[in-house]
Amino acid sequence: MLILTRKLDESIMIGNDIEVKVVKVSGSQVHLGIRAPKAVAVYRHELFEQVMNENKNAVQNPNSDSLKSLGKLKELLGHKN
């Protein structure tokens, strides 16, 4: 990992069109301003991690019994409606 030191109001460029700027530092919190093309997605990493973890939990092997048990689930949903 590349590590750069930046002061308040200084920024870095990633490629030609992505700018990440330190806009505020208060204690252990750092506020970053990000200017990037519309087509570039920017997420907080932990959000992405949450999604990755839940995707792993959600995997259902097509051959597993739990897929068959969806029929039972459907039945229950039917009762609910």
């Binding site: 995707n55 969806l70 689930l73 609910k80």
Partner: protein, 160 residues
């Protein structure tokens, strides 16, 4: 009635549950492509989506590359009445989605032993552009990753 609309480069989806019609549009042997894969399974790009009377209203998204990979899915609007998706410009560009009417939305379900504990991932819905069959799991920031389907159905019922 569809409440899909376009606003400031974003597409906002807040539609009533679909009845399988959209799925029909996709065709039985339709292959959908996740160009970036699915988070945590980046190598899995090609999937098929199907449903049948045994599993309805659930759907099953099956990987064509990884034999053991598949996800149970549900229409989020069926379990969360106020669910609203704002698709960012980045995601719209990725999907090449221009017309909200072409968007098919579903969420992954985490199936547990006790059906009352099943949850839907409302944080990261999957959007399929029916026009080109490009798909992406997008990340919103205002919905839970584990939304209880059982309780959600109660709320939807109360609201009726």
């Amino acid at each position: 009635m569809s409440k899909k609309k376009k606003e400031n480069n974003k597409i906002i989806l807040g539609l009533t549950p679909y009845d399988g019609e959209l799925l029909k549009n996709l065709g039985e042997d339709a292959i959908v492509t996740f160009d970036d894969g699915v988070p945590a399974f980046e190598e899995a790009k090609k999937f098929t989506l199907f449903t049948n009377d045994d599993i309805k209203p659930f759907m099953y998204l099956k990987s064509l590359e990884l034999q053991e990979l598949g996800f149970v899915c549900i229409d989020p609007f069926l379990v969360c009445k106020d669910y609203l998706i704002k698709i960012s410009g980045a995601d719209l560009a990725h999907l090449q989605l221009k017309d909200p009417e072409n968007a098919l939305v579903f969420c992954f379900v985490t199936v547990r032993e006790n059906p009352q504990e099943n949850t839907a991932n409302l944080l990261a819905p999957v959007i399929i552009n029916l026009e080109n069959r490009k798909a992406k799991q997008i990340i919103l920031d205002n919905y839970p990753v584990r939304y209880n389907i059982w309780e959600g159905l109660d709320k939807v019922k109360e609201a009726k």
